[in-house]
Symmetry: C2
Subunit: 519 residues, 2 copies
């Protein structure tokens, strides 16, 4: 194990090596804890507290010893090419091959279990089986060697995606790259670059070369930009060239709105909020202009042929997702989901990894139906939802309205949650909004992991609560999702450690009384 040190929050960067592939080195954060001190017969007795291992998406940015971004997958990809092996994780898994990426994610998902002696079913072979069955996806373009492998699937830790990207009216490249890097430090598992403004290519290039997580895009945005924003000018050729351009750059997954069918577009016309997916509205408009079937649907096999050459995964966009509580679970939405199920099979036939996007705005009593229909129609491919937002009445707080829905659908089996920031429905997120969105979604994902009784999920909760009960304030905050913010609030409250807090004062501290009870 190599070490780095991030002393401010008691965190060390540690690496664990693979057994199948010794060159696999998985970075994690180790939170070093102070001992529990008790007084027995007038003597101070210190009992050590075991360190806690935290899943780390920060790559080189959380390792003070790292010298820039590491091209971690470069040699693995080279080896496969030399050996003439197939290129997608799906085809390799189906051929019975455990790749370095598979061992990487197996270690990554279980490091906290391993060190705490908790059993986990997640082995490299289990990962291979899940990928082979299409129940899990490792998005990892052969041209994105900087990407640390991660896995999206119901039987793994729930993941979160952060959306960044500029628009025609705001933001510049540097600030998008800053958001991207910070997102990784705060814990996003994948990043989507949704840029629609100027310099789309360069923005993406800068992000891809900077971040250690898989990057997703919606290629129709750049295709539309190429034709001057005129939907009528969109065509398969422009789209195909855009796909190839982005595959070459190293994008790891594409949201493709191939499920928006000509026959279903009108189903959305009676809605309160119509079509709120950008890709969905673009393709719907195109279908209506030409009264023709969506070219993404018609060329879906061609798309998969391209993606298979780079091992780019497909995220099947839900172009007709509901944009208001009133539109949830309607015919338009479920008709599209049926098509997405069909497309899952077509992707698998081409050895392309695939997952399925979901809503949106859904009231709590209709969330379960979304998961049920997805399981029923999509053959076990992972589900990836945006929220869902459970009430429409809180613009400026939609990270919260959506985290309520996200935690629930995550507990039901959704594999990845797309974050929502406080600026949703209002404008593009600032760096602080991105932080709020990510931490809020880490909460939803972790709460879902606990509810699913994922192996080892409660280790961190229990260590933090033990620290809380023992007034080990630093340990409590070091173990938290956002130590910096917790310390900031702690200082604001005018409190510097000790056996009670400003909430209660010394005489009303329940924990203090609770300790006296134990004596």
């Amino acid at each position: 194990m190599m070490k780095g040190h991030n002393s401010e929050f008691g965190r060390e960067k540690v690496y664990l090596s693979g057994q199948i592939y010794p060159e696999v080195r998985v970075g994690m954060q180790r939170v070093v804890l102070t001992p529990t001190v008790t007084v027995v017969d007038g003597q101070r007795v210190a009992q050590p507290n075991e360190p806690v291992y935290i899943y780390d998406t920060g790559g080189a940015y959380t390792d003070p010893n790292a010298e820039g971004v590491v091209r971690i997958r470069e040699q693995w990809i080279e080896n496969r090419k030399k050996e003439g092996k197939p290129l997608t994780q799906l085809s390799l898994a189906r051929a019975g091959i455990i790749t370095p990426e598979m061992e990487y994610v197996a270690i990554r998902e279980t490091m906290n279990c391993r060190e705490c002696g908790v059993e986990s079913h997640i082995t490299p072979e289990f990962v291979r089986q899940q990928v082979a069955a299409g129940r899990a996806v490792i998005p990892a373009n052969i041209n994105h060697p900087e990407c640390e492998p991660m896995i999206i699937g119901t039987d793994f830790l729930v993941k979160i995606n952060a959306n960044i990207g500029n628009s025609a009216t705001s933001s510049d490249i540097d600030s998008e790259v800053e958001k991207a890097i910070n997102s990784c430090k705060w814990g996003c598992d994948t990043l989507m670059d949704l840029s629609t403004g100027s310099d789309i290519h360069t923005t993406r290039e800068r992000i891809l070369r900077a971040v250690p997580v898989p990057v997703g895009t919606v290629p129709i945005y750049q295709a539309l930009e190429k034709v001057g924003g005129d939907v009528e000018q969109l065509c398969w050729e422009v789209y195909r060239d855009t796909l190839i351009e982005q595959c070459e750059q190293g994008v790891d997954y594409f949201t493709i709105h191939a499920g928006v069918r000509l026959k279903n577009v009108d189903l959305a016309s009676s809605r309160l909020c119509g079509i709120v997916s950008r890709g969905g509205s673009i393709m719907s408009r195109w279908c209506k202009i030409y009264n023709r079937e969506n070219f993404l649907y018609e060329h879906f096999d061609d798309i998969c042929d391209i993606l298979a050459q780079y091992d780019v995964a497909v995220s099947l966009g839900d172009g007709l997702r509901p944009g208001a509580i009133a539109d949830a679970n309607d015919r338009a939405q479920f008709a599209e989901l049926e098509t997405l199920g069909e497309l899952v099979l077509r992707a698998w036939a081409k050895d392309v990894q695939v997952f399925v996007e979901g809503p949106g705005h859904v009231p709590m009593h209709k969330i379960c139906k979304n998961m049920e229909r997805q399981i029923e129609l999509c053959h076990g491919a992972p589900f990836y939802t945006l929220g869902p937002i459970v009430t429409d009445i809180a613009p400026a707080y939609d990270h919260i309205t959506s985290a309520i829905g996200a935690a629930q659908i995550g507990a039901l089996g959704t594999a990845m949650l797309c974050y929502v920031t406080p600026k949703e429905h209002i404008g593009l997120p600032t760096v602080e909004d991105v932080r709020q969105g990510i931490v809020t979604y880490k909460i939803a994902a972790h709460a879902a992991d606990i509810a699913k009784q994922h192996p080892g999920a409660v280790i961190r909760d229990n260590a933090l609560s033990k620290a809380r009960f023992e007034f080990r304030w630093r340990d409590q905050f070091n173990l938290s999702l956002d130590p910096e913010r917790a310390f900031e609030y702690f200082k604001q409250s005018g409190k510097t450690e000790g056996n009670f807090c400003t909430m209660c004062g010394p005489n009303f501290c329940a924990i203090r009384l609770s300790h006296e009870l134990k004596k």
Copy 2:
């Protein structure tokens, strides 16, 4: 109808009068909307949008025409005294009497339905039946005439409580009163003054005379303060005198930790976080010091005799609630709940209104069991929970970890949700923390109302989404839970109205494209 005007956010204060009691005047916020403008054959056509009525807890503070706090219930209480009627809403309901308070809450709960033509089962007679059955509580001390009646029960809108109050180490009276008034403006349904510092009596007096919502307290705090913070000195006589003092002042409900039984205290000793309820830890300690049964349990009938004279409701405290995920749903917790069920019957026998407090820290997969056991053991008395918090790992974000749990347990039937602020586990909340806590809990409560399919709950969502779809930005924000914050973010994004936003820019606006589709 009388009117006030709060032009900044398109809101007017309006009053609706009773039919049984014409002197009943229920204040609501009416959000006036702009028309929908479309262009038909080159002509601008304006179609009006009906105003939306919002439940309002702001009393005089949201009515620019009001001259100070109104003693709204003064005459009703006087009349009952003159007529020699019994005093508690429960005894009156049982006697078949619909009180002005009952008509008030019936109007208050259904005003949005009435104006929109949605049917609601909530009539004054329904309210009476629910109160008579103990399924709902109207906390309203005869000495708190400033209190606008509200109802807590599964078949009504989910309510939220905000905790305020100083401690020995922080805050002064003025800032607590400011928090109290702001809390009402932002939407809290009840306020608990949890002061434990100096000037407890005066702080409470100032708050009671200032706010239009029911006020709750935990009398054991003041009792403990009276004996110098020494648990050993606590006794029934000091507690009884404190109860009477607070009843005289006008407190509407008391949290009483009578369920902490000597035989159950040790059940909490094997926990990760022991006892985290302040009242619970105080009473546990008292029981252990004297090896005697909790005097609140032993004197519970005497307590109810006092409360009945003032119509103060009992909130049965869950002194052994879990303070960590690891401690959820354990024997200590459910053993206490059994006692609370017994105490519900004892309160009802004395004509005292009663509800039951619940946890705390509970992972999502264990939330349902809490509601089930409460229904099973507590004879239909309303449930009032603190969150629950669904993961321990996010200090500084516990308003969110708990809103996830609160929304779920609210949808399952919990009648009132006690808010949690970002400072939970860290310190006392600032005014901004209180705002965050309240808006977050309004979200959870409203999401639960929608999930329960409460009559009229979605009216506001639908109006807001319609405004969103029609680019009526002002209407969208005026209808939101926190218009001020939404406008602030909107301005930050550099956007001043128009048919797209900074999120997407003009070419990528899904709603704009969706409009073109409709044409």
